[in-house]
Symmetry: C2
């Protein structure tokens, strides 16, 4: 039952899981190329998006969402602060935590990021008719929900863990 020529041929192209992984890596790379023109990495772009969705989060929460250890988040946020994109503000209620927010310059860049993301979306889905495009989004959201992925948060800014 392992040599059916008909059953095995789809395996050469992979099922949905393989295609998602393959396309995901491809799409992520293209996005990285695009945002590089704004001097941003995908993780930096992700932070901008996260800060506008829910401002005032602590660094630990943000690091958790981005899938990076807090120790790595510090120099990561440093760079964005030095560029004037984000602001660290001490929380008056708990002076241990920093509340991170976007600066005006950060919001400006986020707007340009939106333009880039829109162009990227269209370039990726060129092959699809508008109704198919919506169909795909629907299917992907159903999977994302069932897999309990946080909407709008991309935890993939880490290397694949083997354990």
């Amino acid at each position: 039952m392992s040599t059916n020529r008909e059953k095995e041929s789809p395996a050469f192209r992979g099922g949905a899981a393989f295609l998602l992984s393959q396309l995901g890596a491809h799409v992520a790379q293209q996005f990285a190329d695009r945002v590089a023109e704004l001097d941003l990495t995908p993780a930096q772009a992700g932070l901008l998006r996260m800060l506008v969705q829910a401002p005032g989060r602590s660094q630990r929460e943000l690091a958790e969402m981005l899938g990076m250890p807090p120790s790595r988040f510090v120099p990561f946020a440093d760079g964005m602060q030095e560029r004037g994109l984000i602001e660290r503000r001490r929380n008056p209620d708990d002076r241990r935590v920093y509340s991170l927010t976007l600066t005006d310059k950060g919001m400006e860049l986020l707007a340009r990021l939106g333009t880039v993301a829109k162009a990227h979306e269209e370039q990726v889905c060129q092959a699809l008719a508008p109704d198919e495009h919506q169909q795909l989004i629907g299917l992907l959201r159903r999977i994302a929900d069932q897999q309990q992925l946080t909407p709008g948060v991309h935890g993939g800014y880490r290397r694949l863990r083997s354990g």
Copy 2:
């Protein structure tokens, strides 16, 4: 035109490009966890698949397909050879190149890998009815073709390049 509450809300969950990237990372991580039980990394699993699809390729070709520099491919192949999964054979016509092939042990492991991949596919697409599952595969293949991705080859075993 940038503050339509209706138009902006889907952006919070992301379009198809974001979902593909998010789900791709998630699915790739789950696959990594699964194949780890076979003492394999995703890249190693990919090499096994590639060798059965088209045996006798040179290391340089394989490295190219996997998206890693030849210098990194060498220790990568070393490990698999030491485990007796692949074989390096000098090409009689061109003694510079090695032709890599699967050993019996490698093919055996590849069979177990197929079982793992099948279970993974079902787990990923739990949320979808059988016809939706096929629909999704169809849409993803159309995109993959249009984006000129090599069928069955996952070039994402590299870090995201910023340039």
